[in-house]
């Protein structure tokens, strides 16, 4: 009935003007570009909401604040295998392989566009074997400009007046914000500077986690806070362009560390200074440089039940040079980078990487070869990706084959650091048993993609791939309940790097644009062909099917009404079987399939200086859960105001 109603709503609002709108030119089928206009009309609230727009991605969350994403497989939700870039620079805020997009000093309103590569390629001095998510922030503007934003959200289900009626009262549920963000920029034709920050707050009070958080924080209010500032300076000099990025942040966080299966109250501090640029050295030849220093700190968040005595301090220093050459048909790069990572609690390592790319582009077709050789200690890893793209009429077809190897140093996960001497969380009474030591992991991937018009204003995107992995690393703690039915920290985390498996994936998306309307229908799926060792049950945690439709109507440039209906199939986390039915029935090893209906209303005011967003999630109020012991996210709404002044 609700679906019928949604369709009726859209049909009844069909504008009188049905002139065909301009259709986007067929894009690169292996690269997805998410534009600012798409971000604004999709009703996104925080940065991890970008995952909602990335084709083929699977996500999980325990609290609704920190989101983990799986792009192309591996150890799903154990570690992010994709490479994160911010304004052309790699970001080194991952901790033991976990990438947390929330930590980035970028608010969703400060994102200009996002590039997503689902295939391996050389990028920013490294071989990105698991794809790339590249976030571009709003360009530094000429003149003086400022932006500010405020947002707040709430999930339904508070006790209301019944808080004063003991037999009918209930706990407060999650509140999002208030969040604040600001950006100021000043620029001339030669130098441009930008300063920005975001301040996020989140109250982790879902009933599924209340008992755990209450125990961990000794009864303190589980109010998470994150402050992340950044400065970006760009200059044109010596015939080239140069960029200095200073990124930082700090957070009081209930860090759900997958191998422990519990939230650990931690205080995180992180920062990165990066400088990169390129200068021409001869006709058709340029020299690019890249330097960065990053630090990650982890401490206990005040007095907690876990007495997390073990802390973490790591520093990464890297620098690289890359020569670039191109003529009319060919482009090539050759680069070298050295990276030194040190830690106060373990032995560090030095990683050296040589990369090279060759691209041939002639009318109607393009071929590229990306290759890299990495070495650390006694290990050597070689990777290569060969891609071709052909234009056949209005269609573009692409194919990519890749063979990659990864050293344990490149994954930098807990098992690696334990072997380097890190007594991981010994104060918790948790030991680490390495069953199969991390070694060079191998990956073979083949993908075929196509994009082209089906009819005027209608575009089809299709893709399929097969991926075979060996030596995949996993960390597992056999879950067991304590007498209070909370997950008990069992004495041993088992680490094994013997995961082998092959899976196939496919996707199809039809996009339509007509007059003031845009819409899309999509499906993507993945299925294992075989799996063994550490991967035997690991891929069951990933929903196999995801399908849906979304639509948006913009009667004028200042108003957009959008909605989406998405289906996600169920997933099974076998390692949580012992907790099934625990915590009053709130825990379940099966994460149920769900239909999610969302809606967003965006209105610009004051000649587009002010933007008002009203967002609704899970309007059907289904059981929207992503993790066996995670929160069930009920109907929730967000309100956001954004002010834009100046150039």
């Amino acid at each position: 009935m609700t679906l019928a109603l949604l369709i009726a709503l859209f049909l009844s609002l069909t504008p009188a003007d049905t002139t065909d709108g301009p259709m986007s030119a067929p894009s690169d089928p292996i690269r997805q570009v998410i534009t600012r206009a798409e971000i604004e009309s999709a009703g996104l609230y925080r940065l991890p909401d970008l995952y909602r727009l990335i084709d083929g991605v699977r996500t999980t969350t325990v609290d609704g604040f920190t989101w983990r994403a799986d792009l192309v497989g591996g150890d799903p939700f154990g570690a992010e295998t994709w490479t994160l870039l911010l304004d052309g620079e790699r970001v080194d805020f991952a901790l033991f392989g976990e990438q947390n997009l929330s930590l980035l000093p970028v608010a969703i309103t400060q994102v200009d566009s996002v590039e997503v590569w689902r295939v391996p390629r050389v990028v920013a001095g490294t071989f990105a074997h698991g794809g790339v998510i590249h976030i571009h922030t709003n360009g530094v503007e000429h003149g003086v400009a400022a932006r500010g934003g405020f947002g707040i959200g709430n999930e339904v289900g508070d006790p209301g007046p019944y808080r004063y009626v003991p037999e009918r009262t209930s706990r407060n549920v999650d509140k999002f914000g208030a969040d604040y963000e600001a950006l100021a920029s000043v620029g001339s034709a030669v130098v441009r500077a930008q300063a920005r920050f975001k301040l996020l707050r989140f109250y982790a009070t879902d009933v599924a986690s209340t008992a755990r958080n209450h125990e961990a924080l000794l009864g303190e209010n589980p109010a998470l806070r994150l402050f992340a500032p950044a400065i970006r300076i760009e200059a044109d000099a010596l015939g080239g362009s140069h960029a200095l990025n200073l990124l930082g942040g700090g957070a009081n966080d209930l860090w759900f560390f997958q191998p422990f299966g519990r939230e650990l109250p931690v205080r995180r501090r992180y920062g990165q200074a990066g400088l990169h640029g390129a200068v021409p050295v001869a006709a058709r030849t340029a020299l690019a440089y890249r330097f960065a220093f990053a630090e990650n700190r982890l401490d206990e968040w005040g007095e907690t039940a876990f007495h997390l005595g073990t802390r973490w301090r790591s520093r990464t220093l890297r620098g690289g040079l890359e020569g670039r050459w191109q003529n009319q048909a060919f482009a090539a790069t050759l680069g070298a980078e050295a990276e030194r990572t040190s830690a106060e609690e373990a032995d560090g390592f030095t990683l050296g990487t040589v990369t090279g790319t060759v691209t041939r582009a002639v009318p109607g077709q393009q071929q590229h070869l990306d290759a890299a050789l990495s070495t650390a200690g006694d290990g050597v890893a070689a990777s290569a990706a060969l891609g071709t793209r052909h234009t056949l009429g209005a269609w573009t077809l692409g194919a990519t084959a890749a063979l990659t190897q990864r050293l344990p140093e490149q994954e930098s996960r807990l098992g690696f650091w334990v072997r380097q001497g890190y007594d991981a969380f010994a104060n918790l009474g948790v030991g680490v048993d390495i069953l199969v030591a991390p070694t060079t992991a191998k990956d073979t991937a083949l993908s075929i993609d196509a994009v082209g018009p089906l009819a005027p204003g209608v575009t089809l995107e299709v893709g399929a791939g097969v991926r075979s992995l060996s030596g995949v690393y996993r960390e597992v703690q056999p879950m067991a309940p304590d007498p209070d039915e909370l997950p008990r920290l069992t004495p041993t985390v088992f680490i094994s790097a013997d995961g082998d498996g092959t899976f196939v994936n496919g996707r199809a998306k039809v996009l339509a644009a007509r007059g003031r309307w845009r819409g899309a229908v999509f499906y993507d799926g993945r299925a294992p062909l075989n799996r063994d060792g550490a991967l035997e049950r690991a891929w069951d945690v990933v929903p196999r099917h995801r399908a849906g439709l979304d639509a948006a109507v913009s009667p004028d440039a200042g108003f957009t009404l959008s909605g989406s209906l998405v289906y996600r199939s169920e997933a099974r986390w076998i390692e949580y079987a012992a907790l099934d039915g625990g915590n009053g029935g709130l825990y379940s090893e099966t994460v149920p399939a769900v239909w999610l209906l969302d809606a967003a209303l965006e209105k610009e005011l004051w000649q587009r200086r002010l933007r008002l967003s009203l967002l609704f999630r899970n309007l059907l109020n289904q059981e929207e859960r992503y993790h066996p012991i995670g929160a069930a996210l009920d109907l929730r709404f967000y309100l956001r105001l954004e002010l834009k002044l100046g150039a």
Binding site: T2, L5, S12, D158, P161, Y162, R168, G558, L620
Partner: protein, 194 residues
């Protein structure tokens, strides 16, 4: 579920009336400012604990891309039922409405709509402010019947219902009467809204 079958049917009816309402004045050209009184009615178990009192409501309505939109607020006291140990509270309901104006014979106008808002409760209790104040999402249908009584004045009578999405849902029904005056939107405000 937010969209119960009844609300879905009501919305479908509303949408079927949309073509009738298509002949609207231009976007944001006029403002209908209205004030009125509200009677609130609830059901058990809520009424076992609180007794909603009469309230007042104000709203401002303007033509939108399709139909009309309004923003408004309503204030009403909710007194504890005698002998029940719960605090009184003051409800402040801030809402937005999307409505369709359907002209009827005799200068009458029927305006069914849907409203979504935030129902804030200010408890008369000795707690910290964060506990004394609570707010929750509310949504529901409404309908108004109005008659012209002069160049720009109308008298209005309406009814509505909202569901407040607390853990234990609370349903209220409203009966409203009031007057409204149509004004031309000041240029600065029209520019701001566009």
């Amino acid at each position: 579920m937010l969209f119960s079958h009844r609300l879905s049917l009501y919305l479908a009816l509303l949408l079927s009336l949309a073509p009738i309402a298509a002949a609207q004045p231009s976007l944001f050209e006029t403002l209908d400012v209205s004030v009125g009184g509200v009677g609130t009615f609830g059901d058990a178990p809520y009424t076992d604990f609180w007794d909603p009192g009469p309230g007042v409501e104000g709203r401002v309505e303007t033509p939108f891309y399709l139909g009309r939109v309004a923003v408004g607020g309503m204030i009403a006291p909710h007194a504890a039922v005698e002998g029940v140990a719960v605090p009184d509270y003051l409800s402040l309901y801030f809402f937005g409405v999307w409505t369709i104006g359907v002209p009827l014979p005799g200068g009458l106008r029927l305006a069914p709509g849907v409203q979504v808002g935030l129902f804030e409760m200010q408890f008369d209790a000795d707690d910290v402010a964060s506990v004394n104040n609570e707010a929750e999402l509310a949504a529901g249908p409404e309908v108004w019947l109005s008659a012209s009584v002069g160049q720009a004045w109308r008298v209005r009578a309406g009814a509505g219902a909202v569901r407040i999405f607390t853990a234990e849902r609370i349903d209220f029904r409203f009966v409203r009467v009031g007057v409204s005056r149509t004004l031309r939107t000041p240029g600065w405000l029209r520019d701001f809204l566009r």
